[in-house]
């Protein structure tokens, strides 16, 4: 229903919601109803794969603010995450949730926390890890090269590479690899990845009821994150091929690729961009990568790490070897990513 009655703050916002305060819990209930193969605990606010904990298997837990779907709840299942803890919209989960998820997936082999590098996420996961009864390895994802990684900022943000980290580490954990190896491959994927994003419009959080920022018709935000915040700079809108170059350049500058390098490419929509446009961009991006001598070994195009209804795109490039490709190709069966199984 269009929800405006009685709450002036929602005037002008058109969303399929009942009450802004209930969005996250009602979406979780919807996931539970749609995916009986998942165990959704509405009290603890966690999503767990049905067969967890699996004895002897390293547990993989991730989480973060809601509004990035299918990340992370849509990536829970065989071959990927064991549990996800969704926080409020764009707000990290609380330690209690993370701890509940950690306990739910602890099969005696330890648990990996995959944490996107944001101040709040880092703190809440740290507090939970301190209280966990099992050995926890925390892996920080910080692939967004729009942000200067120096000590003058909170560090690079975790964005699109999170999907690659969760898929590849999930595959290795599924094979029964020990905790240190799963954490190591997760860190390796993050280290090999770089991402950059451009937004055409801001997203609208249900609680705020209006766009996070206003953009004139002919302007874009360059170097945005996934929380509706403005980017590093505001620039003029231009043809897709020029924007593809604007995205590819900082990625190749930050993580140079030798000619002949093989990569996984994720062209990711931020929630409000049609797949048609994502493929237009993929066409231009793949041509630019080919010009740079980079070989696209695998590609994924779609809305995977989103920022509510933001129109925009992010590119993630991850340099791979045979082993990482094997793990990428391994079977996965989740609500948001599914192949070979």
């Amino acid at each position: 229903m269009l929800c405006t009655a009685g709450t002036p703050k929602m005037a002008g916002m058109k969303k399929f919601i009942n009450d802004p305060d209930d969005v996250v819990r009602e979406a979780l209930a919807g996931m539970a109803a749609a995916h009986p193969e998942l165990r959704v605990d509405l009290d603890e606010q966690i999503i767990v794969r049905a067969d967890a904990p699996r004895p002897g298997k390293v547990g993989l837990v991730s989480g973060g603010g809601s509004g990035h779907e299918p990340l992370h709840g849509g990536f829970v299942g065989p071959g990927m995450l064991d549990a996800a803890c969704p926080g409020e919209i764009f707000t990290s989960p609380v330690p209690d949730q993370i701890l509940a998820a950690t306990r739910a997936v602890d099969g005696g082999a330890g648990v990996v926390h995959i944490v996107k590098n944001y101040t709040g996420d880092v703190m809440n996961f740290e507090l939970a890890a301190e209280d966990a009864e099992t050995t926890v390895e925390s892996v920080l994802v910080d692939d967004d090269v729009a942000v200067d990684g120096s000590t003058w900022t909170a560090g690079r943000r975790g964005t699109g590479a999170t999907l690659l980290v969760e898929k590849i580490a999930g595959a290795l954990a599924e094979e029964g690899a020990p905790l240190a190896a799963v954490a190591a491959v997760a860190r390796d994927v993050n280290e090999r990845s770089a991402s950059f994003a451009i937004a055409l419009t801001s997203g609208t959080t249900p609680a705020a009821g209006k766009p996070g920022f206003d953009l004139p018709e002919d302007e874009i935000e360059v170097g945005v994150g996934i929380h509706g915040e403005p980017g590093r700079a505001r620039e003029k809108l231009r043809p897709a091929r020029d924007l593809a170059a604007r995205i590819v350049e900082p990625i190749l500058a930050a993580k140079p690729l030798e000619s002949g390098s093989r990569v996984i490419v994720l062209v990711n929509g931020l929630g409000g961009t049609p797949l048609l446009e994502l493929y237009v961009m993929f066409n231009d991006i793949s041509r630019l990568l080919a010009d740079a001598g980079v070989q696209v070994a695998r590609s994924l195009v779609g809305n995977y790490v989103t920022s509510l209804d933001m129109a925009g795109i992010s590119l993630t490039v991850c340099r791979v070897d045979d082993e990482l490709l094997r793990l990428w190709d391994a079977p996965v069966r989740t609500a948001g990513l599914r192949w070979g199984a």
Binding site: T119, G120, M123, W152, T153, A208, F213
Partner: protein
């Protein structure tokens, strides 16, 4: 400060962040993700609800419970940070709290926030309001609790206003680089509200 005054303070903070939720959200939307007002309202409402069913004889117990509730209900960065502030303050208070002991407690709260968030003055964070507030409170504590709370409130307000020209070096606003300058920090602003609430209840 006794248990009743501590409860009154937390209730006053809850009322204040509710009244200022839109303002905090707008400040946060400019340089962050626009949820600071909503998150604090949820957290302090939860704290008030938790305290309603909580038996406590001391201000320390009330404030510790407030901090624990904030950590477990708010999320984001502000949950652990404000939660740690109230928890450290509460845990450091003796059974009988005079003006000076409360100032020592505030100092412990500041230390806890700095330890967890690793921000220093000038980073454009809540520390920019909290540090001058704690200093001003300590300086005025010999004149009594109400006078010290008023001094802390004034200093927090000035500290928050002084964040406007700064470029953020911590938190989400730091991603904007120099574009973060020209906006008052939402965290410093909510810290000022917390001390304004303290001054208001201490005068009552």
């Amino acid at each position: 400060m006794d248990a009743d005054l501590a409860r009154a303070w937390v209730a006053a903070v809850a009322a204040s962040v509710t009244a200022h939720a839109a303002e905090l959200t707008d400040l946060d939307a400019a340089i962050g993700d626009g949820d600071h007002g909503v998150n604090l309202r949820r957290g302090f409402d939860a704290a008030v609800a938790a305290l309603a069913g909580f038996e406590a004889d001391t201000a320390g117990a009330v404030l510790t419970k407030t901090g624990t509730t904030l950590v477990s209900k708010v999320g984001g960065a502000s949950g652990p940070l404000y939660g740690s502030l109230f928890r450290a303050l509460g845990k450091s208070l003796p059974a009988e709290v005079d003006a000076v002991a409360f100032g020592d407690g505030l100092r412990a709260g500041l230390d806890a926030i700095v330890r967890l968030g690793k921000a220093v003055p000038g980073d454009k964070t809540m520390v920019d309001a909290l540090t001058p507030a704690v200093d001003a409170y300590a300086a005025a504590a010999p004149a009594g609790f109400a006078a010290a709370a008023r001094a802390a409130s004034a200093a927090a307000g000035e500290g928050a206003a002084a964040t406007t020209p700064l470029q953020a070096r911590k938190g989400r606003a730091s991603y904007l680089g120099e574009r973060s300058a020209g906006h008052q920090d939402p965290g410093a602003t909510s810290t000022a509200l917390i001390f304004a609430a303290l001054a208001a209840v201490s005068d009552a």
